[in-house]
Symmetry: D2
Subunit: 335 residues, 4 copies
């Protein structure tokens, strides 16, 4: 961390600041320039309140030189993390499609969708048992029964399953779930992240509704700091001023940005991002071309009768077509 002092900062006050910084356990390297003094701070600066120092009247500017993500950062872990579940893998060159309905509704529905998406090339089955809905009056998901039905579909097809945890008190129900999803609204539910860090399950961590790249990585850091390194990051659209024609704005540049900053795999969810069926295929193809390690797509046997998010679900036929085109993009990239 670098603190630049204002021109004319008195010697006495400068000494006082330096001794205060040392009290915080930091090494301080002073360089007196012609006009200004620059302090280089060494040590565990992750704990230092930059805004506090910035607010002191002798300080012109404070800059953090190094990124605060230690476990998630590429610096000390250059090779890609690959998350493997059975035959399927995400990251480090391995690419997977994750597909299934927004909500699990019945055994027939989830098993049928599972079979269809498997045929089309999906490697994981997704489905919501616990549903975060803006309104308390909307369908809240089947809960424990939904997880039971997902496990039935897994048995029938062999597809590993991905489903969302909303309340840490229900973690026991997720014992046989393959990947636990943390939704956009819980991405800074730090106590939940800490608890998930104590499990050995892969965690699919969605970016917050208006989460920065740094916040997403710091949330991953919460899980990893507690011991679990199997974190998959998921871009799902961010909130911007444009919400008339798309629900959120899919931020695909985050894919190459994250690939540079972190070794963790990056998945894209074009269904929630756009909110409209007619946008899903082209955005999935774009995500593949941007270098995503996986794409998560909502598929429903009968979108107009879906209990949740029908407007953004593909039919199995539309998903099969999208999958073919996505795989073609992947091939074009490999050449």
């Amino acid at each position: 961390m670098i603190a630049v002092l204002k021109p004319g900062a008195s010697r006495e006050r400068t000494e006082h600041l330096i001794s205060w910084l040392k009290d915080q356990g930091l090494g301080v390297h002073v360089s007196n320039g012609e006009f200004q003094t620059v302090l280089g701070l060494i040590g565990n600066t992750a704990n230092v309140d930059m805004e506090m120092i910035q607010s002191l009247d002798i300080v012109e500017k404070v800059t953090r030189v190094s990124d605060p993500f230690k476990a998630a950062g590429r610096k000390f872990h250059p090779e890609d993390t690959v998350v493997r579940v059975g035959q399927a893998a995400i990251g480090g060159g391995e690419f997977s499609l994750i597909a299934g309905p927004c909500s699990v509704e019945t055994e027939e529905q989830i098993t049928f969708v599972a079979q269809e998406v498997k045929k089309a090339g999906a490697a994981f089955l997704r489905g919501g048992a616990f549903k975060p809905r803006t309104s308390p009056y909307d369908f809240q998901g089947l809960g424990a029964e939904g997880i039971r039905l997902l496990l039935e579909a897994k048995r029938a097809t062999g597809l590993p399953i991905v489903t969302e945890l909303m309340d840490i008190r229900t973690l026991d129900l997720f014992e046989d779930v393959d990947i636990i999803q943390v939704g956009a609204r819980n991405t800074q539910n730090f106590d939940m992240l800490k608890e998930l860090g104590k499990t050995d399950k892969p965690i699919l961590l969605k970016r917050g509704l208006a989460g920065t790249i740094k916040e997403l990585l710091m949330s991953a850091e919460y899980i990893m700091a507690s011991g679990n390194e199997k974190v998959i990051l998921c871009e799902r659209g961010i909130r911007t001023y444009e919400s008339t024609y798309t629900r959120n704005t899919l931020d695909l540049s985050v894919v190459p940005v994250l690939k540079r900053l972190t070794h963790l795999p990056v998945v894209v969810d074009p269904s929630h991002a756009t909110g409209h069926t007619y946008l899903v295929e082209s955005m999935a193809m774009a995500a593949a071309a941007a270098g995503a390690d996986g794409i998560m797509i909502e598929v429903h046997n009968d979108p107009p009768h879906a209990l949740c998010d029908g407007a953004q679900s593909l039919t199995p036929e539309a998903f099969a077509r999208a999958a073919r085109r996505i795989f073609k993009i992947r091939e074009a990239m490999a050449e």
Copy 2:
């Protein structure tokens, strides 16, 4: 809810849509215009997926006519809700200052600050025991011990206390807390909201980092639908493209907007919104002039040594000056 069909929608498909809507338990009022058919939907439309209907190819546009907030809305509850704790009250013309440090640090610190803010006119003491920090490596708060110290300060000064709950599993520790705060990162932690709805504690509900007005009211609705009507809404700045000179953008127009939509009290937190000491007083005065029912301000005995958010904390002296000026604004408004 109103669904406008496209010009030339076939009679058969129109009939099919109407019968599907009736299957969802809705009354449908059809009006055939010269060019277009308009369907008026009556009944519990809160459960209807507007986006789904919107996506049907015979539908031009779907519009929700009535607001989805039932318990929080003013329509069925025109008079203001007043939240009372002992002598203090917020809402319905009653105005309160809530003040105290970001984090509780020691018994001396919290009791000293409590005495100072009480002298200056604060009606509530705030202080963080559990702290949501972006980084897992930052100070996470004193936890249960922090609550114990807050209760000591309450005993010493008589000020009721406000403190944040981060993990629903720790709710028991909040038995003697007067107002439970739900932070911006948990504002859509729906399971926590449901649980808080079963208590009879007043809840100070912060707007999400990029929460819409509707989402804030729907989160209040989650608490109220579970039986607890004592909800205080809190504007704390929203995330926008401008973050160089202020941490977030304080949205004061939300105060008169909320006063029109809901009977619940509205409090403003200028400290977290701006992130800079030098902006707190003027934004607190502006919040009072905008009609806020309360203002929550961070006060620390020694901001440069605060363990958290020192850059936005006022000293007790600065708080006393701000309080005087805020009360003058309140008087000017009453004339």
Copy 3:
């Protein structure tokens, strides 16, 4: 346009509103529902102030049923517009790369870059003569001399040229320019748009820094309403809260959204959107996969010495590689 009246709106006030609407030259179709009256407004509703009607106390909600873009909309012009310049074409299945330096600097520079990008497959040469810079102290471009140099490069390579107009008073200088660019900061400079509507030059219209999709189309409408139908729309990244790792957020979902709403071609500029060289290639590939009709990329012979935006410019070699990969994506999409 549909206006829904509040339940219990008095007959007298309803009559008064209807007669006022008729005074505005609108046909009014009244449908009295069980609870509410719905007014269907017919005629030139583009001139009606929706917010005004919305604010009347007997009105519950006003909804615009039809899009306000007449000339740009697909409704009355279903087939794609193709903009052709010599051999090159953009739109309707035709795809073009547009490449060149941010600023024209010298004849050698611009001619060299033109030759290089032509070899790599670019169909148009871009280069800035007039430069919109945030600071008045930054390099403002070579002006008229810059256009002269671009025309030299055109003569040397045969590539048609694209360059930005900043001040309508300099329009005469653009007589031999092939495509006139309107930059993000002038996208709502309505007098300039009207004037460009009187020319017969193709116009490359960039989306505003925080422009909505509707605003972009309405700006195109300004040009088209004055008689010039050759408008190319350009996505160049929008301003969001995330600006640490990318300059703006590239909004690729706008590509399929615009393809549905309008017949005009859509081009993507990943260089300005991201602001970083290392993101350009992957975002260009993603844009191609999203269905863009063209991609505009900054290429500079010597990025570290560029007078403007060097940080986002590709070298000719990097551009050649990106072009190869983009064309492969196009092939994969065509199969």
Copy 4:
């Protein structure tokens, strides 16, 4: 400006960078730390492309230490600028209300409104002659005739007038206008700003729709660098994700931020910011409490029949009430 090099940057490459920086006319002060080298750059760093340097692979971070606004900044011009027109003044403790209709419609209308707002305490009359409308099919203002009518109203009441310039080619028409307004859509129309810098008229410069604080000040800098120092800054709401209940988000914290950064006066426009009559009074009071030097409010004799923006206009009675309350807030602040 400070450039921090990466740990381990080779001596040769470091030397090369330093000599390149010197070529750019900068003084370079090198300080070799234990782990990292820090370069302090001295001289006219306003011209240096920070992003370019940042992108070099031996550079870890570049930070601008001093603000780039020279003429607008407080550093070299600590005392407040006061803009005076006849009796009226804005800035340096002087406060003015600016009021009038969105559009000038008839002589009777504008003169009547002028008389009313004068009685209520307004010091300036505003009114639009040239109107920037999103749609080319909307009323575009009376143009030159509108300015003639404004001058009639000025003659009748003595109120100085404020009106918007949209096209620099019409500048001659503004000879008798007292303050020229630059609208949000032209705030980065740099050629217009330069031209206005050559006049000696006060300029009311609106913040862009999504303009940053820095951009607003740099636009002021364009005017001032050309010689005109009479610039009034105007906050008019910014574009955020919340647009359901307010048109834009009024950013009042910008008032104290600007007061610290610049000596120029700051005015707030709550009418355009909120877009709703019922929000104007409380936001105007909040703006006064935040420390604004002036407030600009839309007033129309007959809002439901206004040709533009009727939904946000106050009647003369409502304006008189708002003015009384605003002046009370001002008094409360002065005590």
